[in-house]
Subunit: 204 residues, 2 copies
Amino acid sequence: MGNSKVYLEIVQHLREMIHRDGLKPGDKIPSERELSERLDVGRSSVREALRALELLGLIETRRGEGTFLRDFRGHRLVQLLSTFILQDEKAKKDVFETKNIIEIDCLRLVVKRFDQQDISHLFRWTANAESLHDDEFFYRIIQLADNHLILRIWVILKDYYDSFIPIPPKNKREDYLFLLEALATRDEEQVISAYWKLRNLSVY
Amino acid sequence: MGNSKVYLEIVQHLREMIHRDGLKPGDKIPSERELSERLDVGRSSVREALRALELLGLIETRRGEGTFLRDFRGHRLVQLLSTFILQDEKAKKDVFETKNIIEIDCLRLVVKRFDQQDISHLFRWTANAESLHDDEFFYRIIQLADNHLILRIWVILKDYYDSFIPIPPKNKREDYLFLLEALATRDEEQVISAYWKLRNLSVY
DNA sequence: GAGGTATGTGTGGTCTGACCACCATAATAA
DNA sequence: TTATTATGGTGGTCAGACCACACATACCTC
């Protein structure tokens, strides 16, 4: 009987509850005390289960309010593994390279998918933003690529990147606008060459 | 200040401890009571952190003995997330797309980097392997790309992918050989078109 | 009535102390 | 020596207490 740990059973219970009741992101799940009572276990065991799910990014807790299901697409998969694994020096180089690669991937996706309105909107923002941060610009680009998973990965890489290159690149506004103009033509090669120019790299 | 939760700080402490002391899979980490005392927090908070890491498969705990680092490959994690999450169709699509993109990225990298010997070695293996698994083939390709981070991301995506498409693709050996021949020419476009053929996709 | 204030209730966050079950080892008995 | 027992350390679990916070309600002031 006592083979499985209580907190794992609670995780299982929660999973079933979510499926059975069709709970969706944003929905509230029972309070810790209520779960404790309903499942006839200690509150600390309930908390162990909830904290584990929270670390996974599956739930979100708000003090004074309750515990809620999260948008599952925001799971912490890559982040968690990377924070525990990504340590050596070689990793920095890999992060740098991977970040660039992903940005280019997204540019390629955007070339294939973008709506004229998206680009003009982004163009206006780029032209008018008083402070033009590289992060923000590419965040918008990657959003247009419409792949949430890649967005997550990029955000993580960006954080790592910032952790050892804390000085944000200060590119000229024209470079960004030039990149957008290239995008508007849907010419992949031109886009990538504009990206290189922006990043001051010849080849990766 | 008390913004961050104690159990997250403990996770962070453990991470640092692992890196600082160079702990490896199988090594023992301090007991719950000792951590509780050293970090000056309650034992229950320590447990919340440890249980979360356990659920992630990062540590293993043996009653009466202690808590030990695991050889983290994240299998547990993938399994967990997939049972919890994978109803989201868009998420599946993102995984599918991202896996393909990364494979193509690696092919591009390999085109730029490979040693003639690498390719001929891989060629021999592909021609002679009695059972030619898609996973193994691309694992070797991605190794040639010489980016550990991408390799890790790919492995995770592959596990995800397998969890909802359990039937491994059965491609013809010629298709792989054809891809390798394209690689040998260092012609990027040709490589990518060979990849499409292998994957039976026209465009992503 | 409108707007602000106090209060009560429910929630997560944390700590403490108490058991239990289990394991390894040392001390003891055969 | 070998087998048995005792002991201390470890994780597993629970109960209770208190805190910080958010929200709704009732209340008061204007």
